[in-house]
Each structure stands twice: as C-alpha cells, then as structure tokens.
C-alpha cells in the first residue's frame, strides 16, 4: 500500500541575515584589492561586522611604502582585452591605472589609502597574515596604523567563527 506523504509546512522563521564577514585580500593589483575593500565597506554600511585579512601580495594594500602605488595588472589580464605585449609597454600600466582611478573617482570610490582609512573608521578590523609577513621579512612598522595585528591562519579562523568567509 502506498502512503501519501504530506508536504511538511515550512516552519515560520526569521529571515536569515549575515551578521559578520571575514574578507581575505590576496592580490596586490588595483583590481585585486578593490573588490575586498568595497565588500567590507558595504558590509559595514549594512551594519554587518567586517574583518579584513591581507595575505600574500594583498599586503601591498596596507604597506606604507606601497599602498599609494597600487596599479592595474596590464599583463596577463584578459579582462582588459588587449594583447599581452601591449600591456607590457613601459608606462602602460600607469596609464590604465590613471584612467581607472578617474572613473572610480566619478562614482565616489576613494583611492586605496583613503579607502583603507574609511573602512577602518567604519569599524572594520584589519589584519596582516603572519606567514606572508615572515616570508617577506616585514614587521608592524611596515604597515599603516589602521592594521590591528599580525595573525596566523588559525587566529584568522578563530576571529571568523560564526560568520562568512569571502576570499578575493
């Protein structure tokens, strides 16, 4: 005998919301750094807690000596729809970076140094990855003052507990 199963009624629940995000920034190019910063800022604007973890060349975004000189990768970047050899012409990366920065300014996206300050002021916490810091022989002295701590991957996961992890 077959029994007809009734569809269970969906329980009444509160709509699910994200309370916290931990965003990893792992690339050192302009287009590699911005998405993570925009997502962190957007999270804070929605009242979502946000942590930023900078690793590998992503550390350039928080290095005092480099964060003002972030460029668009014009070689090996199929998104630009240009031959690789054109992208390799001296000064080309500088030019594309300038053009992109101008476009961003138009839609009110700040340059990276100002953006780092903005996300930190809005309450996002900034961390540097210990493995990369050790690999490059860096110390806290090399980073902008907004960086709270150099932490290991394990500590990153501890801090990320209970939230969503976004890798960029």
């Amino acid at each position: 005998m077959t029994e007809l199963l009734e569809y269970p009624e969906a329980p009444e629940t509160e709509p699910v919301t994200i309370e916290k995000v931990s965003i990893v920034i792992s690339h050192g190019s302009l287009e590699g750094i911005y998405p993570g910063l925009i997502m962190a800022n957007g999270a804070r604007m929605e009242g979502i807690e946000a942590d930023l973890f900078f690793t590998f060349f992503g550390l350039d975004a928080i290095r005092k000596d480099r964060f003002e000189k972030i460029k668009v990768a014009t070689v090996g970047n199929p998104g630009l729809h240009m031959p690789t050899l054109v992208g390799a012409i001296p000064g080309f990366s500088w030019l594309v970076t300038k053009m992109m920065q101008r476009q961003m300014e138009k839609i009110d996206i700040p340059p990276i140094p100002e953006f780092i300050e903005l996300v930190a002021d809005s309450g996002a916490r900034l961390y540097a990855c210990k493995a990369t810091v050790d690999m490059f022989g860096l110390t806290m002295e090399d980073f902008v003052p907004q960086v709270e701590e150099i932490i290991s991957v394990g500590e990153f996961y501890e801090k990320a507990a209970g939230g969503q992890i976004v890798f960029t």
């Binding site: 604007m45 009242g47 700040p110 903005l118 309450g123």
Partner: protein, 105 residues
C-alpha cells in the same frame, strides 16, 4: 507599499520601512522612526546627519555616499557609526524620510 500611521500622520512606506514620499516627512516622524530603530533620542549630531542626507537627496535626487557623508556633513566617519551603529547612510535616510541609498559606497 503600505500606509501606516507614524506620529499621528499617515505615511506611505516601502517594504523596508523607508518613506515613499519625502514630502510626508516631519520631525516627529523622524523621531518615531529613530526610536523604532534603536535610537532613543536624536541628538544635534544625529540631526546634522539626517538633515544633510535629506537636503542632499532633495537637491540632487540621490542620497550621498558614506564617503561624502563623512567628508561633507561635518560628522566624521567614525562618529557616524557611533551615532548610527546599524549603518549610517541607510538609517539616516530612513529617519530623514528619503528612499534607501542605492550606491555601493
């Protein structure tokens, strides 16, 4: 869209509780929306932000970004988040009776 009575005045709200018509807004409505969103009392600093948001929206048709809010409202970003912990731009827009800001920044 629903019509609700806030501070004894009928107002049209969207699904998220933002005023549909900024002209229906007044100070008492702002205070009532603020209380409902966890701000028990609007201080002068809150008002500064709320009025800036509202005026900018009425002038330009778009709400200012958090960046220009921090630069031009007279209240720095850190303080904006202290005043409106659940998101300054969004909440100040709601209290100021203008639509939810659509920008990403």
């Amino acid at each position: 869209m629903t019509t609700t009575l806030i501070a004894d005045a009928p107002v049209d709200l969207d699904a998220e509780g933002f005023l549909v018509d900024p002209a229906q807004w007044n100070d008492a409505i702002a205070e009532a929306i603020a209380r409902e969103n966890g701000i028990s009392e609007l201080t002068d600093r809150h008002w500064l932000v709320v009025r800036f948001m509202r005026e900018r929206y009425l002038e330009t048709g778009t709400a200012p970004s958090i960046r220009s809010l921090g630069k031009e409202s007279g209240v720095p970003v850190k303080e904006l988040y202290q005043l409106f912990p659940k998101g300054p731009a969004k909440l100040a827009a709601k209290i100021g009776g203008i639509p939810k800001p659509k920008g990403c920044i």
